[in-house]
Symmetry: C2
Subunit: 340 residues, 2 copies
DNA sequence: CTGTTAGCGCGTTCAC
DNA sequence: GTGAACGCGCTAACAG
């Protein structure tokens, strides 16, 4: 039924080893035999079985991609870009969607990628224990989003600089009561929310603004979370006149909450996001732009390079992509009549 | 270095086949031996090689998922849901992102999933030739989005009914010049845009409104495309007072174009979308809601069922999920002073 | 219940 | 330049 290498060998009147050599472009086969074998193989519709070939050679031509929340714009976009790079290079992608703690645990305990992939790309840098598990696979590792990790090539941005530019923008407009919507309580342990928060604290301090813990709320990196967080901030005794949301999705949730409270953006409250979501321009959101697809593609390329040149020195542990503040319509000086 | 089944067998003082049986929960192993083997395997950190196991058994415990544009909200969400179902059932997912014609061609000519997957889920029903290629794999097939295909279990919605409810809503509000932004020119051949367009034509006819081809524009299912399409519609001699966009992303693009033209939604122009994108509520978009994650999960479940009960009759060729019109703030009666 | 014997389909030595 | 033999790690069929 399914045609194997011996079928091709028989049909071409050669041995299986010659077919193997010919089809993979290895030396030691005369050009005419090679051409003839290629023709026969094409005609028979022969395709080498990956299982058999990786069992024999140890190479799988498959990359394991570990991603949290593929459905979110950010990770979906990173994944899309990375997959394109991999498949263009002839690699297949084994996808592991590790959003829930359950799925995460299942993955890291059974490690289904073992002996199945040539390398692993993690779209969110895993915690130390998980990192160790991945390292035990003995394959090249790369990642996006998060701090540096031993054994990992990570592509990211300068989160502190990005967040600083956002908060500083609000300070420069004259805001003094600046709230922050963060994603601190996520199930995952990563440095991004920490770095962005530190930048927020630093800029406030540098501007001589006293930090008010009541002005911080958790939005869990979702639209709904952002909405809840903003609602909570508005319920405080002295609501902020401006808000820095650690992601555009949370910023959009905040905008929804504000609208529901009949507050106008930016007249009553200014909002800055982070990411430059594809719909940020639609809602006129001022935000910190970062190359999202670019990070996925770059991480994929760096991983492939390690595969191609195993002896070459590992790329720098941490590659930084450029960011920039994009001014749109959700930020303005504070309203002299006050937020209410 | 890497521990194999014989290592476990030796350490446990049994044969390799017993280890295999024990670890996979097959009958014919005493409970105490099974427990002892499990302990030894765990202690050694043994995990069966998928390549070897699928080579020997023919089963791969892997599902091939073919998706266009993973980065888009719709497909990302469908993929996310499907992956969760698969991985919860112990299956891995091989992802093929077939957005570009190039990637598509590469995939369907070399068919890298051959001998590598137990089943295939296509998030967008492929064209007839591609369908035939998939059928040649000889594995169960399922899909979302698109018309019925022989050999395919497809989960979808009633596109005509959905589009009809959207356009009829505009008609009922009193609109007579109703534009449509479609996604006709995509590289893919699928029935969705055709069905939605037909519904648009039907409702116009039923309302006694003459169809004006100048009121149709292509938005390619993207935000930018929607913006361009709306801009084109506004440039016509008699612009529409309402627009039906075949996707929320195009609707949001249209809203951006309107805002740039200093036109107000819905006072100057009403807009209806399709999908109920996660951000539709943020921008107050009236739209046709469909269970996006639900379709992915359902298609995945139907596929798994075929795998579990190969002899059972195939599920209905076409499963229809419910839809409903969600009224928000982008639609209103036409402005008596006219659109300009 | 358990061990032995054969492959699964291919890549990789070796010989020639 | 080409073929024969072996092994990758595992599962399945057959003995016992």
């Amino acid at each position: 039924m399914t045609v194997s290498i011996t079928d091709v060998a028989r049909a071409a009147g050669v041995s299986a080893s010659t077919v193997s050599r010919a089809l993979r472009g290895r030396p030691g086969v005369s050009e005419e035999v090679r051409a003839q074998i290629a023709a026969v193989a094409a005609q028979l519709g022969y395709i080498a079985s990956r299982s058999a070939s990786s069992l024999a050679s140890g190479r799988t031509y498959t990359i394991g991609v570990v991603a949290p929340y593929i459905g979110r714009w950010f990770f979906g976009t990173v994944l899309d870009a990375a997959e394109q790079v991999f498949s263009a290079a002839g690699y297949d992608v084994l996808l592991y969607n590790l959003g829930s703690p359950d799925a995460r645990k299942r993955f890291f305990t059974s490690l289904p990628v073992r002996k199945r992939v040539d390398a692993v790309l993690s779209l969110l840098i895993p915690d130390p224990a998980e990192t160790a598990a991945l390292r035990s696979l003995g394959v090249p590792l790369a990642g996006t989003v998060g701090g540096a990790r031993d054994g990992f090539t990570v592509v990211g941005i300068d989160d502190r600089a990005g967040a600083e530019s956002a908060v500083r923008h609000l300070v420069n407009l004259g805001h003094r009561r600046i709230g922050m919507i963060s994603g601190a309580s996520g199930p995952l342990q990563w440095t991004t929310p920490i770095d962005r928060r530190q930048a927020y604290l630093d800029v406030l301090a540098e501007a001589g603004i006293e930090h008010d813990p009541a002005l911080e709320a958790d939005g869990g990196y979702t639209v709904e979370g952002g909405e809840r967080a903003m609602t909570a901030l508005l319920a405080t005794s002295r609501p902020p006149t401006a808000v820095f949301a650690q992601s555009d999705e949370m910023a959009m949730g905040a905008m929804r909450a504000l609208r529901r409270h009949r507050l106008t953006v930016p007249d009553d409250v200014s909002v800055v996001g982070f990411d430059d979501h594809e719909l940020a321009e639609v809602v006129g959101l001022t935000t910190v732009s970062q190359p999202v697809a670019g990070q996925g593609a770059e991480a994929a390329r760096l991983l492939l390079r390690q595969l191609d040149e195993p002896d070459a020195e590992r790329p720098a542990d941490k590659v930084r992509m450029p960011i920039r503040l994009v001014l749109r319509e959700t930020t303005a000086p504070p309203n002299p009549r006050g937020p209410q």
